[in-house]
């Protein structure tokens, strides 16, 4: 049977506010355990939450970023369950009236296509602390530094159909929040975490199958793997005539499998009710407009502009607009060399190849955008060939200076002197009489092929520095 996978994602995004969502404690990652937990975070008796306005602003920014309806009145609720890293015994969250309502999100696929993924809602809530089960001799340690860090939980519609789409969705989401500056998006530090709801149905069926929820998957790669594994597991059950059990599962990255969570880890009745310690959050049109005016150019707008302004393919545009820093780099290169196509090529192939190889971010690139632009200028004005340019780029990466300095120092300037070229052409014609015979006897199509041989010989002779265009012209003239 052909199965269709139906996937919905819940993303927990830590918002980059300086202080926590309901207390004044700082949110810096990696501090000594329990040094960033105030009396409010510790749920000391009589302590009360005070909402951090910046968290609301960030949520509204996100809502506007996906064109969602904004909850002009949103309400915080208590979600009740006992756990040692949840000091109050309830999490302050939003249930019936979230700050962000339904929206839509376009994702670009690697095959060049795109898809709309529906966003059901996004709501504000507080993060829990961390339970540390190692190093305590059979006991557990509690670190409440993370308790109260603002989270935006972004819930998608079950519109995602495979692992690649899930990853594309997450990457697009990641890109958006980086553009908006509302999160550092650092998945390794848990700034963006993902729960996967996944079910299977026979291809063509409209009904949804029974889903499993895979909790807390923390990297793009793990999301892909967890979905593939869960697909295989559910398909196997269904094909052997079984039924999928609705349950919460855990992706174990070490063993590369999903397994059910112990029932104790799964709370069932959260007894949501409106948080009486906080007033409903009421915002007005003026506030929303003010936030809207402050929004930067969003990735999808930038992508569209790149396609129109620079005639890039949708895929190239989406790669180059992935982060504001990369997009700015690209546009600086274009400004310096005035050729958007070649610039796109160089940024994506040479530059990103090197960055990926060395695991560097765009901001850590040893070659600046201006430097790369100047290099491309030398290709365009025929000072060097594309092949030589790669050598120059390598040298720039090693820190040997600007393109012109390197070309000068290494004597890489293209030979465009017609006298010098002519003597090289003559030499090659003279020492390859047989090929000349062949060439002269051949038809138009074969000649083209054979011409390449002569060009190659001349390039060899010139150590790659001969101006290929002039070589072609000279050969055409001489081989008659």
């Amino acid at each position: 049977m052909q199965w269709e996978t139906v996937i919905g994602l819940e993303v927990h995004l830590q918002l980059a506010t300086r202080s926590k969502i309901f207390s004044g404690s700082p949110t810096t990652f990696g501090a000594e355990p329990n040094t960033q937990a105030s009396a409010v975070d510790l749920a000391m008796p009589g302590m009360l939450p005070v909402l951090n306005e910046q968290a609301v602003r960030y949520a509204v920014m996100f809502g506007l970023g996906i064109g969602a309806s904004i909850g002009m009145r949103s309400v915080f609720d208590r979600k009740n369950y006992f756990y040692p890293d949840l000091p109050k015994g309830y999490q302050i969250s939003q249930f019936a009236e979230p700050v962000v309502g339904a929206g839509k999100f376009e994702i670009q696929l690697e095959d060049g296509g795109s898809r709309q993924i529906g966003i059901t809602r996004a709501h504000l809530e507080e993060d829990a602390g961390k339970s540390l089960h190692e190093d305590f001799h059979g006991m557990s340690g509690i670190d409440l530094n993370r308790a109260g860090t603002p989270l935006l939980e972004i819930v998608s519609e079950p519109d995602i159909r495979n692992a690649a789409e899930a990853v594309a969705y997450l990457k697009a989401l990641h890109s958006l929040v980086i553009y908006l500056g509302i999160s550092d998006g650092n998945m390794a530090e848990g700034s963006m975490r993902c729960d996967i709801n996944i079910s299977l149905r026979p291809m063509g069926s409209k009904e949804l199958g029974t889903r499993a929820e895979i909790k807390n998957v923390n990297s793009f790669r793990f999301v892909e793997r967890a979905i593939r594994h869960e697909f295989e597991r559910q398909a196997e059950i269904l094909e052997s005539g079984g039924r999928v059990v609705q349950e919460t599962r855990l992706y174990d990255a070490d063993r590369d499998e999903t397994r059910p969570m112990r029932s104790k880890e799964v709370a069932n009745d959260y007894r949501y009710f409106p948080e009486p310690d906080l007033l409903p959050v009421v915002i007005d049109e003026a506030y929303v407009e003010e936030v809207r005016r402050g929004l930067p150019e969003l990735p999808m707008d930038k992508r569209k502009r790149f396609v129109e302004q620079y005639q890039l393919s949708a895929y190239d545009a989406s790669v180059l607009s992935d982060s504001p820093a990369l997009a700015a780099y690209y546009e600086t290169v274009v400004r310096h060399c005035s050729d958007a196509k070649i610039a796109a090529n160089w940024v994506q192939v040479e530059l990103m190849g090197q960055l990926n190889k060395h695991e560097l971010g765009i901001n850590d690139s040893p070659v600046s955008a201006q430097q790369l632009g100047e290099l491309i200028v030398r290709i365009l004005d025929h000072s060097i060939s594309g092949k030589i340019a790669k050598q120059v780029f390598e040298a720039m990466w090693q820190g040997e200076g600007n393109a012109d300095d390197i070309i000068e120092a290494r004597g890489l300037k293209q030979v465009s002197d017609s006298g010098a070229l002519e003597s090289m052409v003559d030499e090659v014609i003279a020492s390859n009489a047989a090929q000349v015979e062949q060439y002269l006897a051949a038809d138009e199509a074969k000649r083209k092929k054979l011409l390449g041989f002569f060009v190659g010989q001349i390039m060899k002779l010139s150590k790659g520095q001969a101006n290929p265009q002039m070589v072609n012209q000279l050969l055409a003239k001489k081989l008659t």
Binding site: A39, L42, A43, M44, P45, G46, M47, L48, P49, V50, L51, R78, N80, F82, P84, P87, K88, G89, Y90, I142, K264, D269, R271, Y272, F273, P276, D277, L278, L279
Partner: protein, 486 residues
């Protein structure tokens, strides 16, 4: 000194007739001598109080003293006090020493008032008799075989027995007004949001409100002047400006329209208590007020609505007491579940457990709509009744309680009979209104309280009516102990 009101003591301090140290020492001695009878205090703060009194005397000598500088005040053991045990009447917090002051405490400290000690209360403010305390029941100074009321029973008894000139209390469903009535003192429950809840251990967050308990309306006004005001750290704290509550005390009552809800004078009201209230109303009428019969038709919804909403909020407010970070923790927990269950089984008393169970049930999946949501709808109807009534009248008057203080143990096995004690006081909390109880006579030697209810933020008006009434009567001057009268 103990037979004087706060206003009189403040004048005595200003006129150097006695020092704050002498005053504080005097009350500490009275507590040490007499409180074993009443059990009104959980913790006496003698050493720190005397040190603070010495500092207050210096301040009194300068020119930046306030009306409360040097005045010893007893605080309900629900207000967190920096470095001073705050138990909330529970074994759960028997060992809890807060690293912070409640905003109310901070304000009293800034005014130069002295923290005399922490008063006994029903555990986590749940109760109407002060019998639900880990530290034992409080005895009513007027009749030691009866209860002082609750949950601020220790505060009421301390003021009535002249162990403190004034005290703080909290009122979630009558917990200031009912004990004030039973103990023959004046107690004001301010508008919800008028007094900061920060550092006040939460029982039912949407209902809890701190307020003053003292002999007179004037004293309550003096205390409220310090307690009231916006607190940016309490999101439910009101932004409305605070006035000087002593300013309008003398306003004549001419033209005042007083509403008498038929529902508060019907079945269930003890005739003796009713007679006292009628006499009090005649006094107000004689001062120029007019009496208007009104209806609060949804009064019958009050007790069921309250006993769903308050326990629902309490059930989650009390989840934090899990033995992990502070407070009681059971010995040698086997695992996490054992830690939770034994800690909470040992740390909480019966009434607290009962309300946690009721509240948890009311919020459970499948019951939420039938209970919690219905109760919120009832709350809205109750509130609407008051809004409508206040279009006809300026204030509402009636008995604070159906009868006088009942014997210790009389209702402790019957939660519903106990809950009925609060029939006249609960609606005020559900509607977020201010209410005051003023002494209005005696039945068989036991005090009766007159309850006055005002519009939101009409504290000054309630204090004005209470004060004018006290100018014409001497019920508030009676004392149950040696010394006889104030």
């Amino acid at each position: 000194m103990h037979t004087q009101t706060v206003a009189q003591l403040a004048q005595g301090l200003r006129e150097k007739r006695f020092s704050s140290v002498e005053l504080t020492q005097h009350f500490c001695s009275r507590i040490e001598e007499l409180d074993p009878i009443y059990n009104a205090f959980i913790t006496l703060n003698k050493d720190a109080a005397l040190a603070a009194a010495a500092a207050a005397d210096q301040r009194l000598a300068s020119d930046n003293a306030t009306a409360l500088t040097g005045i010893p005040i007893a605080h309900k053991d629900i207000f967190c006090t920096l470095g001073l045990r705050t138990s909330c009447g529970s074994r759960m917090l028997d060992n809890f020493i807060p690293p912070y002051d409640a905003t109310v405490i901070k304000r009293f400290n800034e005014a130069g008032a002295i923290i005399l000690g922490k008063t006994n209360m029903d555990e986590f403010a749940m109760g109407s008799s002060n019998e639900n305390s880990f530290y034992g029941a409080v005895k009513n100074p007027w009749d030691q075989t009866t209860v002082p009321g609750g949950s601020s029973g220790g505060s009421a008894a301390a003021v009535a027995a002249l162990l403190a000139p004034a005290a703080t209390g909290t009122d979630t469903g009558g917990s200031i007004r009912q004990p004030a009535a039973f103990c023959g003192i004046t107690g004001l429950k301010p508008t919800y949001g008028r007094v900061s809840r920060l550092g006040m251990v939460a029982y039912a967050s949407s209902l809890d409100q701190g307020g003053p308990m003292a002999h007179t309306a004037l004293d309550c006004a003096l205390l409220l002047n310090t307690m009231a005001g916006h607190d940016p750290l309490d999101s439910t704290s009101a932004q409305d400006p605070v006035q000087d509550y002593t300013q309008d005390l003398e306003q004549p009552l001419k033209g005042l329209r007083i509403g008498l809800p038929r529902e508060y004078f019907g079945e269930g009201l003890d005739p003796g208590t009713g007679a006292c209230i009628q006499a009090a109303l005649q006094e107000l009428e004689s001062q120029g007020a007019s009496l208007v019969d009104i209806n609060l038709p949804n009064s019958k919804l009050t007790i069921p609505a309250y006993y769903i909403i308050a326990p629902a909020e309490a059930s989650t407010n009390l989840s934090r007491y899990d033995g992990v970070r502070y407070g009681h923790r059971c010995e040698d927990p086997g695992d996490l579940h054992d830690l939770y269950t034994r800690t909470r089984e040992e740390g909480f008393g019966d009434e607290v457990k009962r309300r946690i169970l009721v509240g948890t049930y009311a919020l459970s999946a499948g019951y939420y709509d039938a209970y919690y949501k219905k109760a919120q709808q009832a709350r809205r109807l109750i509130s609407d009744n008051f809004t409508a009534a206040f279009e006809q009248v300026d204030i509402i008057a009636g008995p604070t309680t159906p009868g006088t203080a009942f014997p210790l143990g009389a209702k402790s096995d019957d939660p519903v009979a106990m809950y009925l004690e609060d029939v006249y006081t609960l609606a005020v909390n559900l509607a977020g209104l201010p209410g005051i109880s003023v002494p209005a006579g005696f039945v068989d030697g036991k005090p009766v309280g007159l309850q006055l209810i005002g519009r939101h933020f009409a504290e000054a008006q309630l204090l004005n009516v209470g004060h004018r009434y006290q100018q014409a009567t001497d019920w508030h001057q009676q004392a149950p102990v040696t010394g006889g009268t104030l």
